[in-house]
């Protein structure tokens, strides 16, 4: 920065001077010659977070190779695959794993069925108040935690809840609507719906409305236009939403714990039991690694079959 010698009273605006100061400070802290590493610097916090996760997984992998000595409640010294053997031979864990996968798949199916029309109307509606209403309905659940939402479901669907009250008005029931597998899937769908809509909406926004108009001008009715134009073009959003909903559902703890009545455990609940109920960290770690592996395989299969969707933004079209 230079000053005009003929006008010594001239001062640059404060904002300019502050920016100059900030630039000088930046030059000291992160000299210009390091510029080519700036991208990595910005990535560093995220990489550190992932690194901590990897470190934790590594320690869990180590822990999973020791069985619990019940005389001292310390992990045994020797390395063994016994914990994995216990899981392999256990009918309970097979049931729990199978239930988790089924729960995740059903949740994806029902969530997408509900989220797609929601996102479509959100994106296409010409009325601002409808869009605002839908946005409020979408974001309101984000302000309420998962546990509180599950508790709300317990109240509404309980034997003495609002739904059974309505049944009572027409002379039927009360019915046990809670503490079964459908109740868990219902809770998961309710929890996942906003995530799926948020993943689908950008994909639908990127489809020009003129494309649908063109399809209808060529004779396609709304259904054919939806099937042959909108759905194929929205595929990246559908795949992205499926991946997010699948992984979050597969690893969920609260909904099976609260809405399952104790008999609908998912893998996360089995892991909790081992870590906190029987103090068997080795077996808990083995189950946790199995969950990571299972989730990775499912995601790999989906990406292999359909691509990464909106999660693979950089890939070639």
């Amino acid at each position: 920065m230079t000053t005009d010698p003929d006008n010594s009273d001239f001062r640059y605006p404060l904002r300019w001077r502050l920016m100059d100061g900030a630039e000088r400070l930046l030059e000291i802290v992160w000299p210009r010659r390091f510029g080519r590493f700036t991208g990595w610097l910005l990535l560093l916090p995220a990489l550190l977070l992932v690194g901590i996760l990897v470190l934790g997984l590594w320690q869990m992998a180590e822990s999973s190779l020791h069985v619990l000595d019940r005389n001292t409640f310390l992990p045994s010294e020797e390395y063994t695959l016994s914990n994995y053997g216990t899981i392999w031979q256990s009918a309970t864990y097979f049931k729990v794993i199978w239930r988790s996968v089924q729960g995740a798949v059903w949740t994806v199916v029902f969530t997408l069925l509900l989220a797609f029309p929601f996102a479509y109307v959100l994106v296409r509606t010409p009325r601002a108040w409808v869009r605002k209403l839908l946005l409020i309905a979408l974001f309101l659940p984000f302000f309420i935690g998962q546990v509180v939402r599950a508790y709300g479901i317990l109240i509404v669907l309980g034997t003495s809840g609002a739904v059974n009250d309505v049944f009572g008005l027409i002379g039927v029931g009360p019915y046990r609507l809670l503490f079964n597998f459908p109740a868990v899937v219902f809770g998961l769908v309710q929890y996942m719906l906003p995530f799926a809509v948020l993943m689908l909406a950008p994909a639908l926004t990127s489809i020009p409305q003129e494309t649908e108009t063109a399809a209808s001008s060529l004779g396609a009715n709304w259904l054919r236009s939806m099937r042959h134009v909108v759905l194929p073009m929205a595929k990246p959003g559908i795949v992205g939403a499926s991946l997010v909903v699948m992984t979050l559902s597969l690893t969920d703890f609260a909904m099976p714990a609260m809405l399952g009545g104790g008999s609908q455990d998912f893998i996360a609940n089995a892991i909790y039991d081992q870590f906190f109920r029987t103090a068997d960290q080795g077996l808990g770690s083995a189950l946790a690694l199995l969950l990571v592996a299972l989730g990775s395989v499912l995601v790999a299969v989906i990406i292999g079959l359909f691509g990464a969707g909106t999660l693979g933004m950089g890939e070639k079209k």
Binding site: L68, R70, N71, T72, F73, L74, S90, A91, T92, K95, V96, L154, G158, T159, S160, G161, R176, L178, F179, G261, G262, S263, D265, D273, F275, F276, R277, T278, A279, D280, Q281
Partner: protein, 365 residues
């Protein structure tokens, strides 16, 4: 409370503890010529709801009044605080709490792992019954503070012909989907062994009778939960009967739920809870943590604390709470214990994981 507690009584107890420490040959660094520096607060892990309210009223508040040390209650679940304490001791960090209110079974695991301080030098131990002593452990790594019974709690309106007399009454088709157990089956394994036609002496080697009976109960589609769930489920009309700790049934009754409880002919599990102090505390905080446990063993503290819980303590001469004088959930005499099942903590600790796994295997099917 018949006798008023004073600061002088408390200090006498403290000096007696120091004296006991001297006699037991502790290193000089453990001996205090005078009262050690007081921390601003000590942290006591507790169960929430009625449980912590009773502890606060009977032990924590009077302790604060006498010593000036605030007591903060940490409501982390007992199972969840356990790995944190174990990790803190293993890493030589200061533990997150000063006193752990714990089940005897869980506390025994911690004692076996070597993370508990020895409490043998507490002066008030001499006034306690045999129930205070942990079975199968050297010294007092934990002090049992009361006993409790896993009763059969029920809604009288669901049993119009009178109270259930046997655990087999839960197999009545009318109760399908209307009964509840703990989600790991705790409290139910031993009576199930008897109800299934087995012998208690076969525990832990042959418990097939237990598992047979659990399978029959599974066909009744029971709800499985934790302490707070039982109260909610009774309150919301979800269940008619449950195997639960009598304190929960008492709490639900106090909340206005029409509830009763009984000890069926096969018997009920009797167990104990206790207090222990984790290793790794600074010397002065360790001293005051021990004083807290010592105070919890006074007759005055036990009377108020256990009135709130409706449970029998470990100090002779306590007056049963109103309404529980001849209650089967408040055993005080040898006759009262005849229908209660008590299995040593050592057997439970070594086999609990297998029992939980077997119970889960049946219930998750």
């Amino acid at each position: 409370m018949s006798k008023k507690l004073t600061r002088r009584t408390m200090l006498q107890a403290g000096m007696a503890t120091s004296g006991a420490a001297l006699l037991s040959g502790l290193p000089a660094s453990r001996l205090f010529a005078q009262e050690p520096e007081k921390p601003k607060e000590i942290i006591v892990r507790a169960w929430g709801g009625e449980w912590v309210e009773a502890l606060k009223k009977g032990v924590s508040d009077p302790f604060t009044a006498m010593t000036g040390i605030a007591v903060r209650h940490d409501l982390t679940e007992d199972n969840e605080i356990q790995p944190k304490l174990w990790a803190a001791v293993a890493q030589k960090r200061m533990p997150p709490i000063h006193v752990n209110w714990d089940t005897t079974t869980n506390a025994t695991k911690s004692a076996l792992r070597g993370v508990t301080e020895d409490l043998s030098d507490l002066s008030n131990l001499k006034n306690t019954t045999e129930l205070a002593k942990p079975v199968g452990l050297d010294g007092y790594p934990i002090v049992n503070t009361y006993g409790y019974v896993y009763v059969l709690a029920y809604r009288p309106e669901a049993f119009p012909d009178g109270a259930p007399t046997s655990w087999k009454d839960l197999l009545n088709p009318k109760l399908k989907g209307r009964i509840a157990l703990y989600n790991d089956g705790i409290g139910f394994h031993f009576p199930a062994q008897v109800a299934g036609g087995g012998k208690l002496s076969d525990i832990p080697d042959n418990m097939e009778a237990c598992w047979d009976f659990v399978r029959q109960i599974k066909a009744q589609e029971p709800l499985l939960g934790e302490d707070p769930d039982f109260t909610n489920w009774f309150q919301n009309g979800e269940i008619d009967a449950a195997c639960t700790i009598s304190t929960n049934a008492l709490a639900a009754k106090k909340n206005g739920i029409d509830l009763a409880w009984t000890v069926p002919v096969e018997g009920c599990k009797f167990d104990t809870d206790g207090l222990w102090v984790p290793k790794g505390l600074p010397e002065n905080e360790l001293y005051w943590a021990k004083q807290y446990v010592n105070f919890a063993l006074t007759k005055e503290a036990q009377q108020v604390w256990l009135d709130g819980l409706g449970l029998p303590g470990v100090v002779p001469g306590l007056t049963p709470p109103a309404g529980l004088e001849a209650d089967p959930s408040y055993p005080t005499t040898p006759e009262d214990f005849e229908h209660l099942i008590r299995i040593s903590a050592k057997v439970q600790v070594q086999n609990e994981s297998d029992w939980f796994a077997r119970f889960k295997e049946i219930m998750q099917g």
